[in-house]
Symmetry: C2
Subunit: 642 residues, 2 copies
Amino acid sequence: MSSVDRQLEELEAEIKSEIPSDISVSAVKYEGPELVVYTRDPKKFAQQGDLIRQLASKLRKRITVRPDPDVLSRPESAREQIMDVIPEDAGVTDLDFHADTGEVVIEAAKPGMVIGRHGSTLREITKKVGWTPEVVRTPPIESSTVSNVRNFLKQERDERRDILERVGRQIHREEMSNDEYVRITTLGCCREVGRAAFVLSTPETRILIDCGDKPGAEDEVPYLQVPEALGAGATNIDAVVLTHAHLDHSALLPLLFKYGYDGPIYTTEPTRDLMGLLTLDYLDVAAKEGRAPPYESEMVREAIKHTIPLEYGDVTDIAPDVKLTFHNAGHILGSAVSHFHIGDGLYNVAFSGDIHYKDTRLFNGAVNDFPRVETLVLESTYGGRNDYQTDQEDSERKLIEVINEAHEQDGKVLIPAFAVGRSQEIMLVLEEAMRKGKIPSMPVHLDGMIWEATAIHSTYPEYLRDDLRDRIFHEDENPFLADEFNHIDGGEGERQEVADGGPCIILSTSGMVEGGPIMSWLRHVGSQEDSKMVFVGYQAQGTLGRRIQNGWDEIPINDRGGNGGRSNTLKLKMDIHTVDGFSGHADRQGLEDFVRTMNPRPEKVLCVHGDESSVQDLSSALYHEFNMRTFAPKNLETFRFK
Amino acid sequence: MSSVDRQLEELEAEIKSEIPSDISVSAVKYEGPELVVYTRDPKKFAQQGDLIRQLASKLRKRITVRPDPDVLSRPESAREQIMDVIPEDAGVTDLDFHADTGEVVIEAAKPGMVIGRHGSTLREITKKVGWTPEVVRTPPIESSTVSNVRNFLKQERDERRDILERVGRQIHREEMSNDEYVRITTLGCCREVGRAAFVLSTPETRILIDCGDKPGAEDEVPYLQVPEALGAGATNIDAVVLTHAHLDHSALLPLLFKYGYDGPIYTTEPTRDLMGLLTLDYLDVAAKEGRAPPYESEMVREAIKHTIPLEYGDVTDIAPDVKLTFHNAGHILGSAVSHFHIGDGLYNVAFSGDIHYKDTRLFNGAVNDFPRVETLVLESTYGGRNDYQTDQEDSERKLIEVINEAHEQDGKVLIPAFAVGRSQEIMLVLEEAMRKGKIPSMPVHLDGMIWEATAIHSTYPEYLRDDLRDRIFHEDENPFLADEFNHIDGGEGERQEVADGGPCIILSTSGMVEGGPIMSWLRHVGSQEDSKMVFVGYQAQGTLGRRIQNGWDEIPINDRGGNGGRSNTLKLKMDIHTVDGFSGHADRQGLEDFVRTMNPRPEKVLCVHGDESSVQDLSSALYHEFNMRTFAPKNLETFRFK
């Protein structure tokens, strides 16, 4: 008998001894980090209000109770009973029964009303029909990404359960080593921005954190070929953790599955969906530009299938010796500061991922409060000695000024923006400014994936700032649904019309002017002297965005884009502005504040994800200010902490 | 056509254009780092005195010329002609003809007389018979190791040539990567003494430097299982470099072949032989102590078969982007400071291995003069702030005092010593002291492998200090042949006789009292109050030697040794002395001097191979004294230098 089976046998015995004798336990299994308890008496389980919570705390496991398939009531009758229990206002749009696991997935506009106070409505459902309910939100704005992901996972449910069971047994395997160490290996994003990738390793476990590309340098990928990365191949990685969906953190994650990786990806639910959206687009862009994509879209689906979503604050076993907890990072939707508790009190490491320390319109500021943390791996995008951003209030004022100026001279405002994050922040600014009459009401055209990304934001309001979340819950106040917003879905024809028309605002991808519809917009309005181009986000070295920002005004442009297009030069005549307070990144002050107020303060900080001078400035400042050991690692180094 | 074949074709064309048209070239091949040129006109080649040297310098390759097999004169007639050319005094003991390569191996007591001034006699031989002569020394003291190794290599000649050809093609393969980096990964001997192992890696190449065990902690082996070590398995290592034969650097080298490694080991010729001797003994000791040996003796033979011996000062291509040069390290016979020149002027790293900076009786002091060196990996055995050794002169005086004292009270002197290195140093001291009358002439019993190790020393006098080398060349002055030295080859009976007899000196292994005949000697003479035990070498933490040195006098001792022996306690009554000036290691002063006078001075120093406090003391002292970047790495870290 394997050690996992022995463990499960002991757990089953312990559960039986803890619950009333009239409740049966027919099987106990791991599925990913969860312990699944099968019972012939799901209704009785549900009647004992707090029983599951008590068990979870006693066994120190996440517990799900499921009915034995053969005690389930028939879906047809269950459907009726369930609809009876749920208030009509909840807006149920779908019920999906899975007899193999006894789960029923309820999609509703207002999930809270399906759950009820402290889960009372859910328990009521189980008491009535025996099925275990699971609730998801109906996207308030239709999102093809969300519905594709959900349909795909529904379709792959069987295989997914196999994966989860295998992962569950791996997580709970017996520890084999007598040795103790905690190491971090840098595979990318050191003394540079882009290709984020780290390996956290112990004698038992190897975890890959992020796996991105490098904007402006597509051939500079993380060092996956060095032996530190994947050991004797991708199958030697125990788990992958994704801090957020931006391509410089996620782009090459699907590649792992091409290399044979078959394990879990831990991330938040919105990051999973955004990663799907962005990586598929990444393949698309590569194809359009005539580059060989590093993997097929099939691998993106594999990545989604292997994702185990975690919520902020969930402490989760991801290996025999590692617990992972995500916390809000304030950077983009679903972005997470990732905290690793290693061994039984041996060591704690937090990876900041990308963070924004202060509250923004979209998100609460990054969490920096942990039970323990000895080492922090900190992003340093704006870590340079002069990287202070203006306050967002000032930035908003400045943006409004620029827009008003353009409007007065009948011009347009072209804003290159990442589909995910800054676009929605700017949308919120514009919606309020128009609502409050600070700028005239005018069309705001959203091009590229901005619309779709916005739909995903409104699907996961729990991840947004409190007051925004509340507004989205009331459909008539959802700022993303304001009349001025127009989704560009008519291609070049519609763009030409916009270009020929009156004053307006255009938000378009890509955010660093590296391709995508922004290139069309440059062709259409780039030579309009009365129009303005406004940069609101970070422009990496080597990108066209950075060059325009630095004053280049002759821009190489393909007439049709992609292979075979003739290469011309466009003379840029728009006014170029930079309004830098909207970054999704903490500025130098924010980074220092994050460390200053961090609780507890870490002993060591690795400054990563910044240009050479930024990481060195920040590393030296933190050392002098807080007397901690700080490092500015190079790629391909390994640090040992214990 | 592979890139190597193309390269060989070009080389062949270039050689043909460089040599007189009446000399034919029938084939050009790589064998290990050498370029072998086959010709149908070996005699003409030999007549053009300097031709080979000119070619080598023109092509920047090491070149060997061999006759085509079908132009060779018959061995029977060649033998006679060769013996005619070589002066009788050379003392030829064997001629061995290899028709497949056209080589004749000449074993002689005085190789210099076979070679002749600037190789004139060798050329004379080729001119006469066409064969390519190769010369080896007849051991002045019979050595079973040397003759076993030579016979084994003779027997495996065919397979060895296949290995060399394969290695040769690998060394000269085309470079594949556009990237540039130089990294060192620490797999052992950091903040500890023992289990030396490093990986030096570039995008092209991975080189393992040393692979030892840890005395006193047999379960603490180098971290060969982490992916940095062997990549995707031992076959991903391009080359192994062995700095010297002591087991804390060599013991686990044969294990690599069990793991599937099939590449070269670069080391000096005496280190190869000593490694054979010491690793076979290591297996023996493990078996005697009832431990499972990590590999079979077959793997030691594999290691020997894969060894490519290099001489001090030879600059050798060992990978497309790495040149290796060995320099005398002054530590033990064949020990080498290993200098790596990486890329075309990209970077230079020197690994000190174990060093002795000053001249000793056996060896010249360590070389610290290099064309370039940016990073030094420096041993720190005696790097602690108080690790100053007395001058060897004082130490010798002290040793002589102790011996005279023991002799006066009719006692014996028991000296635990490493078979290799310190034993021979002490032998030289004792021989001189008796010859000059500073101590009475008395028997010096050599137990364990000391005799055999001494025989190996006298086989390679080129590696010894100049004046000692000269003395060995004259048999009547060979100090190792002094009458007082007695090889203990009669087992326990002989030991009992010695113990019951009069004053004498006993030199016995193991040097840290971890097993071997020293345990017998403790049983035989440990309770003799008039006798003395003298430590002359480093005693690692955790060894019995260190404990006795620290005052322990109750010693657990097996009556018969090995499995099933009853365990008793012996009360140690001998006087315990430590005379520390004989160490094979530089002391703190020596280490500082090595760095101070190093030319050029390195930018960075990694202090390794020392107890925690020693590496930290030394690292901090070098930093303050020389204003260089210094590190005291932990095991399992990776440093990137470019």
